[in-house]
Symmetry: C3
Subunit: 432 residues, 3 copies
């Protein structure tokens, strides 16, 4: 691209800092995480929903916090120490402090059979319960005898917190990005989504002092958070959302994935498919494979034009929802690649979402020195072809992404090259 854009390079560092925090759908860990992002992007503001508040068919739960947890054998040996790994405790466990037989303890322990070294990630948000998670290997070696179980957690009337930002553009039409901040110490699912979202917010703030379109960003606890968010902003979002993406699992390098919604003509899918077309290992999933907040954004009575964007999709990589989804699974390179996909979409949207030729019939390129003056058999370079095709396809009705689709149907063209040529034609006032 000719114009040098500033792109965030600290994505992985943010992950390092955020990884140890024990997040959940409510509580201090989540609030701390949101504060961290609010410092990076001061545009983000906090929204709070009180425990007990009704949000559509749901009720905001009590705020959950946890200080410590462990299992202690009568020999004093400790297992499942929360301080070593917050996945050891079933998320949203009620407090417990009691002695227990090994037999009864085993009923409260969850392991992951497919990988005996991994601690699984388990939650119990909507029924009071408690439990511990450990590797199958450790479980097998638990000594016989008496145990003590301690979970120093608490429930209180508090708040469910969301951070969001709305960059108001010249147009009310919005582009929406959402990710979730309720997962404890796992990296790809889900620090990568919030981190890329914040990288994109910074990208727009740094490179577009005044945007043409509006951009909405939401960092929510999954499910209950997106439901709460919709309960407040649904009307506006329904009226204004042009397209948008739910961001999840954007830190690994094995694939690019799109989770479609049921609307076969959805602009979100078309756009993402257009810019990802050349990626190796592009995977397109049906809405039947949904799993993240696209479940809410695309539910029948909400039906926003949102689709899911992932690298290896949640549920499709072996480390998913276990302690193996750690900082080794993701890289700054992959996070940045994911960010660049979204940044390129924003760049095209801001350049011209519905580009339109400004002349009747073809423009006279010769008089503008934009065409070889001597028509002969060797004037068919790829560059000239790209120029002529943009002038032939930009009719003001097709989105730039549809134009790119036509351009690249039968041959590969670098998308940055298309960006540069379109920008040039706009500067020449041939396209607007």
């Amino acid at each position: 691209m000719n114009d040098k854009k500033i792109i965030e390079n600290n994505l992985y560092n943010w992950c390092i800092k955020l990884f140890p925090i024990c997040r959940s759908i409510t509580g201090l860990g989540t609030k701390k995480t949101l504060s961290f992002f609010e410092k990076i992007n001061p545009k983000l503001t906090r929204i709070k929903f009180k425990s007990g508040q009704k949000v559509f068919d749901w009720v905001v739960p009590y705020e959950w916090n946890i200080n410590n947890a462990y299992i202690q054998h009568s020999s004093k040996k400790k297992f499942c120490e929360f301080k070593n790994n917050n996945l050891h405790v079933v998320n949203y466990s009620e407090p417990v402090n009691s002695n227990i037989t090994k037999e009864n303890l085993l009923k409260k322990i969850y392991t992951y059979k497919k990988n005996k070294k991994a601690i699984p990630y388990v939650t119990s948000y909507y029924k009071k319960d408690w439990g511990f998670c450990m590797s199958e290997n450790t479980k097998k070696k638990l000594p016989n005898g008496k145990y003590k179980v301690v979970i120093d957690s608490s429930f209180k009337k508090g708040t469910l917190d969301i951070s969001h930002a709305l960059i108001k553009g010249m147009q009310k039409k919005e582009i929406f990005f959402s990710s979730y901040v309720c997962h404890p110490s796992m990296a790809n699912n889900e620090l990568s989504g919030p981190v890329v979202l914040n990288g994109l917010l910074k990208y727009i703030e740094n490179n577009y002092p005044k945007t043409n379109f509006s951009y909405r960003f939401a960092l929510v606890p999954e499910t209950i958070g997106s439901i709460a968010y919709l309960s407040r902003f649904f009307r506006t979002m329904k009226k204004n959302t042009l397209f948008g993406f739910n961001l999840s699992c954007l830190g690994d390098s094995k694939a690019y994935s799109i989770i479609r919604n049921l609307n076969q003509n959805c602009l979100s899918f078309k756009i993402l498919n257009t810019v990802l077309r050349y990626k190796k290992n592009l995977k397109i999933y049906d809405f039947s494979e949904r799993g993240s907040d696209e479940r809410q954004y695309c539910s029948p009575n909400v039906n926003l034009p949102i689709c899911g964007f992932s690298r290896s999709k949640f549920g499709e990589y072996p480390e998913y929802h276990t302690s193996l989804d750690n900082l080794n699974l993701i890289s700054n390179k992959s996070l940045k690649e994911s960010l660049q996909v979204l940044a390129l979409i924003v760049d095209f949207v801001e350049l011209s979402m519905f580009p339109k030729l400004q002349t009747f019939c073809e423009p006279n390129l010769s008089k503008r020195n934009m065409y070889p003056t001597l028509s002969s058999y060797n004037t068919k370079s790829a560059d000239l072809k790209l120029r002529k095709d943009l002038l032939a396809y930009c009719d003001g009705n097709r989105s730039i992404f549809e134009v790119i689709d036509i351009l690249t149907k039968n041959k590969k063209i670098d998308l940055y090259k298309i960006y540069d040529e379109l920008k040039f034609l706009i500067q020449k006032k041939l396209i607007k």
Copy 2:
């Protein structure tokens, strides 16, 4: 299915009773057949069109009746005795009683070359003529000599009779079923269609004291009957018909067939295709393969959303339109299977034609004890998936059959299981 529905079991017995009757487009045989069905389904009422009455481009013909017919050789040996098989006489033959040379007789005899044992079915409704049908084998053995031909038939000013029923539901929108009652002693084509139609009418009467949709049933002589019926009810049917089927050849077991009309998006086709998708040997025919009353219901200026439903389609099985299309060709099992296809369609239509989720965003299943409370890696059973998918796809715009199409696009799901789950979700007030 959880709720036990009553399904008619006498379909084959009805065929046995009706088989010997000599039906035609008018006359006592057809009236007797209609009376038989009117006893089974008192909802059926008679409509009469007088001979000479104009119906669109056609005129109702004189009523034809026949007492007896045969060919007699000078040796007194008789051939083509009407009393043995009513197919022996060309249907609608004018009366004749005369001596004839063998040479001239042969010109009035029709056989079926493809199967030399079969008596073909031949008609001459719209030109006064007479003739006899016999097997090719018999024809070859006709002795030389003089013959007498006797056809004791008559034409009179009378009526063309139709039986029809309209079950008025809460909604005026109608679902239409039609079959025809003009064929003499043949079983699959066509006692199976009228018999399954009457089985369905009984099914609805027995199981739905008050229906949501309206249901229209017509038993007509083919072509002239459906034209006459349309001449009276076209306006209402055009306004109200949601979808419908022309029923023909529903008694054998070799295939399931759909005859499409030219409207590629026709609801009738979509519905039938959805419920027949898993049947072995499902055959889908173009409208160019039409042949029964879909010719009238789907003709250009009528254009009702009707398609044809058959097992082995007319013209596609070797016994078609011959004496071999007899009671051995059909079975109660097959007739009942055909009825069950239509009954299942009615069941879904009555349960919810356009099911709609009743919450914004996903409903909270946990609080209703409809979801495993402990979210972990093993909560993805097929049953739970079906529940979540129904809640995700029922938007009030898609018909239940479109929802089923999406559900079953990539995997086989028992349709009765879908019915039960949808019913459960309706009972739980999550879908309406």
Copy 3:
């Protein structure tokens, strides 16, 4: 076809007469060519655009004329004599008369590397320049020494000329045919297009004293001519054009080609595809392969329902834009075949563009003696099937070409047979 239509047989002779003329986008050669066609078709009238006149983004250039041109070696030997072949001079060359070194001469000479015997066709309309074209073989043999170059050409304020005709039918809806008259001595590209266009105009004049639809014909210099034409007639054409074709390269026998526009449902494409379906070597090109005046007619803000019709498409045959594109490349047989394709389209359009059945339900064919009166197993001839299908598919909404598409989807039917049967049904007042 039953009705004998008069079809022009002099197409190749016209080419012979027109071949030697040196045409360009303006000038006497083009005017002479237009006069030639205006004599054949007096309906054609001249439109003139003055040099300097603005037409959309373009300006009509000065009128260019040329008397003579050559290169002369100091030995007096001449090369690139205009009188031998007008392709020797770069079209629109400014006048020159000067001595020149061989080194500098070579910079002004164009050859065609792919075929060393061919003189290429080169133009320089929009930048003042001059040059010569010769075969690579001749160029290699140019003797050393001094040269004189003479181009006796001139620019003057004059006109850009177009011939057009509008046959006014009962309906304002127009069918449009365009071809171009700016190419010097080349045969397929482009005498074949104008010649076939004039053959078609004569065909309509000879066979249809009063047409139902209106027909517009334009003979223009390529690009600037079609732009000028649109600058005058765009509003009318936008309102009235039903479909149309840009005609180019219609004289060879190796293929039939369609150049699509970007509208996937364009009637022009559908019609041409319908009538060419059975042709061997039918090639369908994307709009990205455009190159002739479809570039203007289908440009974003013009967007007329036009597509390109060629035999071997421009750029796709080795002789293209060289002296090898001569009278040997084309034949009267091929020109006439191309004309017949267009004539058949006109015939169907004039017979019934949107044929509609005139009865409710099927018509009674028996009473009109249009159907075998004895319904039996042998009444399914292909002819009867065609009759019944036309009656079943002509609903007044489908164009006759869509009807043909349905008829011929699965089986080959002679299009003239369909024409005859449709005409018969119209005569019988069953279709209108």
